[in-house]
Amino acid sequence: MTARRFGFGRPLLALVIIGVAVIAAFPLVWMVLSSLKTPQESMQVPPVWLPRSPNFEAYREVSDVIDAGRSMLNSAIIATSATLGILITSLMAGYAFAKYSFKGRDTLFAIMIATMFLPPIVTLIPLYRIVSEMGLAGTLFGVILPQLGNAFGIFLMRQFIAGVPNDLIDAARVDGASELRVLFTVVAPAIVPAIAALALFAFTFHWNTYLWPLTVLQGNTDNYPIVLSLGRLLSYNRGAMNAGFVMAGATLAVLPPLVLFVFLQKFFVDSMVSTGVKG
């Protein structure tokens, strides 16, 4: 105790944490600062740290090239639908794997886990062909559909639901709750932090995903999510080399996941959900 309170451990630890935080935050800060610079400032060597006259010129330029609003909306539709889909299917499948006993359950679970180790690139073309056969190539729905379920989500939910006391579930059944109601009104509230974590993972992943929408959308730029549109900015900009312009697009793109994180953060912090069951 005394060593901890008066020794070098604590300040040292704090220093390391601050160091890591600075390293992690630096690109983000640099991105935002660059987006506010003039083209000259963003190209200067040695680099200019702070823009002399911060301006939103780069943001205006972005909207000249791409329909940023439309792209953001597309991203929001994709990420939100995928996230909701993953939450619902993961909760339902996780509940079944955790709390039902049926023939072949463990084998099925093992097979499902195994799919997590399949490189996504391997399934890209087959998946595209299926979606294309369904006539969904080029559509947002085609992007979303295969993303509505996911092995990691099921795995995560199963692990947490397994920790929910059986008596709690039985009590709800005796009270007359259907299985769906048990899941969504008794089990889910008991694992809110895990659900929030999964929501954040899923949203961020599907906000940032690049290859899959690029493949499905087949150059239909109207349906491009913001990440694909950023790619278009890069190629548009190849001659001009205006980093500030790309950084402005990138800043726009990271905003929604960031806001979501701030919003969900409180669930991680007070994740001490009491189970109501004594020990």
Partner: protein, 369 residues
């Protein structure tokens, strides 16, 4: 209100048979206790009645209805769990209302029932608290309240007192008995504690290894245990059981040669064994009386003073242990030699399979042997 009837009910998990051919009738309004050691299948049986566990074979009736295929909700039961199982993110009121809302009861009726149950259980001041803000005893009341508001015809309790401390256990036990008297509902109560069973039950069902050993009133089980298992399980100081051989038979008396005691005469009533049969001789500690003139001897090894009586653990001449329950004034110290006597009518005889031979202890008094 409803009776509960089980006909040849069995339960198995794949190859493992947990309960076998349970036949049982529980009368409307009865307080029935399932008691037995841990793992004997009590909870499984209760959960089958609740509808939380499939019935592998056999028929279950609640009232006039065959309920095998009905969901818990349709069976008109309510259950109280050992772990309380209160919904952690709901208040006590929210916990009590949950089932009623699902039944789409009118708001006014819900409020009326919650208020009534809360008053009866004295938890009115706790209605707006969450389970995490309650003590163990308060949680148990809230859990009972959640059962009461459903107005079930059958209450099911699975070891509801196990998580409470000793003092609370006694007072809550009394409250559950009061609740039974007030509501008049059928109650089925599971416990591994025979004291709880004896004090609460109208009728006790003793289970062991998934088989009913005996069904009867607390007094029945105590006075005429059907087999050695029940004899040893019921009674807070365990019955003494010794090996014996039938040494002689006359018209009205059996002479036994009991290991560690010697000759013991008991009245020949009911099924009489054959001469030379090996039997088990059982006698409760309170039926062994310390008496300097007594024919049997033992050496005290430990004495436990329980206030109103002293429980003496002693060794018979052959080294086997024997328990004696003596009056509070008995002065017995470790190492004391003592003499004692017993009355043959108090003895319980069991055959080689552990089944009871002797009938209910004779009401015709016989002379002490």
């Amino acid at each position: 209100m409803a009776s509960v009837k089980l006909e040849r009910v069995s339960k198995s998990y794949e190859a493992l048979t947990v309960l076998e051919n349970i036949d049982l009738e529980i009368a409307d309004g009865e307080f029935c206790v399932f008691v037995g050691p841990s793992g004997c299948g009590k909870s499984t049986l209760l959960r089958m009645i609740a509808g939380l566990e499939d019935i592998s074979s056999g028929t279950l009736w609640i009232g006039e209805r065959k309920v095998n295929a009905l969901s818990p909700k349709e069976r008109g039961i309510a259950m109280v769990f050992q772990s309380y199982a209160l919904y952690p993110h709901r208040t006590v009121r929210g916990n009590m209302e949950f089932g009623l809302k699902l039944s789409r009861l009118p708001r006014a009726e819900i409020d009326r029932r919650v208020a009534k149950a809360a008053k009866m259980l004295q938890i009115e001041h706790l209605l707006d608290r969450r389970p995490s803000q309650l003590s163990g005893g308060q949680r148990q009341r809230a859990a009972i309240g959640r059962a009461v508001v459903r107005d079930p015809s059958v209450f099911l309790f699975d070891e509801p007192l196990s998580n409470l401390d000793a003092a609370l256990r006694v007072s809550t036990r009394r409250e559950i008995a009061d609740l039974h008297r007030t509501l008049g509902a059928t109650m089925i109560y599971v416990t591994h504690d025979q004291v709880e069973a004896m004090t609460l039950a109208d009728r006790i069902v003793v289970l062991s290894d998934g088989v009913i050993q005996q069904v009867g009133t607390p007094l029945d089980l105590y006075a005429t245990p059907a087999n050695l298992f029940v004899a040893r399980f019921i009674g807070s100081a365990q019955m003494n059981v010794m090996n014996a051989t039938v040494a002689g038979l006359s018209n009205d008396t059996i002479t036994l040669d009991v290991a560690g005691l010697g000759a013991v005469l008991i009245p020949a009533l009911g099924r009489v064994p054959l001469e030379g049969d090996r039997v088990s001789f059982g006698i409760r500690p309170e039926h062994l009386a310390v008496d300097p003139e007594g024919p049997y001897r033992a050496r005290a090894e430990a004495a436990e003073n329980l206030g109103d009586h002293v429980l003496v653990e002693a060794g018979l001449p052959d080294g086997e242990p024997v328990l004696l329950k003596c009056g509070a004034t008995a002065r017995i110290a470790r190492g004391d030699q003592m003499n004692f006597r017993l009355n043959g009518v108090d003895a319980h005889l069991f055959d080689a399979d552990g089944l009871r031979i002797s009938p209910a202890p004779g009401h015709e008094p016989t002379e002490p042997v």
